[in-house]
């Protein structure tokens, strides 16, 4: 009974496909999985918009939407109708083809990232040998759509926003990949299914999730920071800050194209939270051995929604980082820490089982963090700003 509930979607799909002749079974099965993904994640997106507006409202000591339905839960329907019926304004001198294709490229690239995430036991769309590499390759393609949007609008604010966004995304791409390489080193495979299977073991009832190791904890923090910057979320949302750049690279988009950009951004948040849950939080495995009767897909989506709630929380709490602070943080702090994390993983693997490796690895990461932070703070000159071009 427990296994049937756990595998209920897989069994449903097999039952639906069994009515068809043998040649059609594989394509239709893939089609059903794709339709399920396209249906589930935008529905979660609608839920998240309400969650975000109410949550931010409460953090900022106001109520948030409460007119449409009880507690504002029908707000996404109102938003959807509004964005569908707004006039689609394209500036006269804008590059029409590129302007049209930018939101499409973003949404297609983001949806493709969901293909390798294992959302439950046996519930991944494709089990690729190089699954993690596929995810990062597709994620790198989203930067191109940001640039296309900013450049084709023929608007100085859009262009500035696009350049800042692309610079930020490239800078944080490196720590994102390096912190995932630590997980790949320990597991010995790029396949996300094998990474989850390696974490699905229990000692004294507690799971082997990588976040419960010193290098995994540090790696998860760095992955979270890099993921927040990759999806342009506050405190890294200078490219789209409302008070800074009008709306950054999607200033000139209205109506449904703006809704597509919004959808693409939030789906990017979901997919990278899903990846973080898979790499560090054990994917679909339960937190305690006793809780394994709960279906695996409930655990996966709970972890994703928890990450989303933390992202919304951080958005409401922390102030925005300036562009040069952002870049300094990426290249001078996070990147050296990720490289040190790789050394840490190597030490963990080769010191053998026992308490020694816990102490050595924890001291290494914590000590490096404190020393680097102190060194970084000593170099800050808190005097009057010197300008490169404006003084001469």
């Amino acid at each position: 009974m427990v296994t049937m509930l756990d595998q209920i979607f897989v069994l449903l799909k097999h039952w639906l496909v069994s009515f068809l002749p043998l040649e059609l079974q594989t394509p239709v099965s893939v089609l059903i999985s794709v339709v399920a993904i396209i249906g589930t994640f935008p529905a979660l997106f609608a839920l998240t918009t309400v969650l975000e507006r109410k949550g931010l409202g409460r953090i900022q000591n106001r109520i948030g939407p409460n007119r449409t339905g009880p507690f504002g839960i029908l707000q996404p329907i109102a938003d959807g109708i509004k964005s569908l019926t707004k006039e689609d304004i394209v500036p006269l001198s804008a590059d029409a083809v590129v302007h049209f294709m930018a939101p499409l490229v973003l949404v297609v690239a983001v949806f493709m990232g969901f293909a390798v995430l294992p959302m439950g036991r046996n519930m991944e769309l494709v089990d690729m040998d190089a699954g993690l590499l596929f995810f990062f390759a597709i994620g790198a393609s989203t930067e191109l759509s940001v640039f296309m949007a900013g450049w084709s609008s023929r608007n100085k604010y859009s262009l500035l926003g696009a350049m800042r966004a692309v610079a930020q995304m490239i800078s944080y791409e490196v720590p994102l990949l390096m912190s995932s390489v630590a997980v790949v080193m320990i597991t010995g495979s790029l396949s996300l299914v094998k990474i989850v299977a390696a974490q699905n073991q229990y000692t004294w009832g507690l799971p082997h999730w990588y976040i419960f190791t010193p290098w995994g904890c540090a790696g998860f923090v760095m992955f979270a920071v890099a993921a927040t910057a990759e999806t342009n979320r506050s405190p890294f949302d200078l490219p789209e800050g409302e008070s800074e750049l009008v709306a950054g690279y999607f200033t000139e988009y209205s109506g449904f194209k703006f809704a597509l950009f919004f959808l693409g951004e939030y789906l990017g948040m979901f997919s990278i939270s899903g990846l973080g849950a898979t790499l560090f939080l054990g994917g679909w495995s339960a937190p305690l051995q006793a809780l394994q009767f709960v279906p695996s897909w409930i655990w996966f989506f709970s972890k994703v929604m928890l990450s989303i709630v933390v992202l919304i929380w951080i958005r409401g709490t922390l102030p925005r980082l300036r562009q040069d602070q952002l870049m300094n943080f990426a290249w001078k702090f996070v990147l050296p820490m990720t490289l040190l994390n790789l050394v840490d993983v190597g030490l963990w693997r080769f010191l053998g089982e026992g308490w020694i490796r816990w102490v050595v690895c924890s001291v290494l990461m914590l000590g490096a963090y404190v020393l680097m932070a102190r060194a970084g703070m000593r170099q800050e000159h808190f005097g009057p700003r010197r300008y490169r071009y404006a003084d001469s």
Binding site: V98, A130, A137, A140, M148, W151, R388, Y389
Partner: protein, 167 residues
């Protein structure tokens, strides 16, 4: 040669052609990205997963962005007044055709020296690539890493020198 191969080859060649023939430089860069994507899909069609995804990650995710930044930060995005083709295009075409013919002859001639393998090509996993890189090909790997480090240090020095001038 299957339909998929012809389709992908058509996309790649079309991307390359439009990258040369279009007037707007940023459109050319985007068409070049389509050509890169076509190449990556050709790798994937041959079951070379790692090569295909690395092509997407490096070429589309980094090289295309770099090309686009270079166009943005210089004044290359304006269409040049006297057209995009040089006057000696015939000579260029002859030289390119000669080089292509030479390379094609060399590749076709070398096919007879390959061991005669029957059956399906072996499935190469990422683990095998990793073992090969760290075992047999570790010297080329380290040399390439040294080259990349030299390029990185050189880029930083060029950028730093500019900052020292202003002050």
């Amino acid at each position: 040669m299957s339909v998929v191969f012809y389709l992908l080859a058509g996309v790649t060649v079309l991307g390359g052609l439009t990258a040369v023939l279009l007037k707007n430089t940023v459109h050319c860069a985007l068409a070049l990205t389509v050509a890169f994507a076509g190449l990556a899909l050709l790798f994937l069609e041959l079951d070379a997963q790692f090569a295909g995804f690395a092509q997407i990650l490096v070429y589309i995710g980094a090289v295309a962005i770099l090309v686009v930044f270079a166009i943005l930060l210089t004044r290359g995005s304006e269409t040049p007044k006297d057209g995009v083709f040089s006057r000696t295009w015939m000579a260029g075409l002859v030289v390119a055709a000669a080089v292509f013919a030479g390379l094609g002859w060399a590749v076709i001639q070398s096919a007879q020296f390959l061991p005669h393998e029957t059956g399906a090509p072996p499935v190469v996993t990422v683990e095998q690539i990793g073992n090969a890189l760290m075992g047999r090909y570790v010297l080329p790997l380290e040399i390439v890493a040294l080259l990349l480090t030299a390029a990185l240090v050189g880029a930083v020095i060029v950028a730093m020198h500019e900052k020292g001038d202003i002050k």
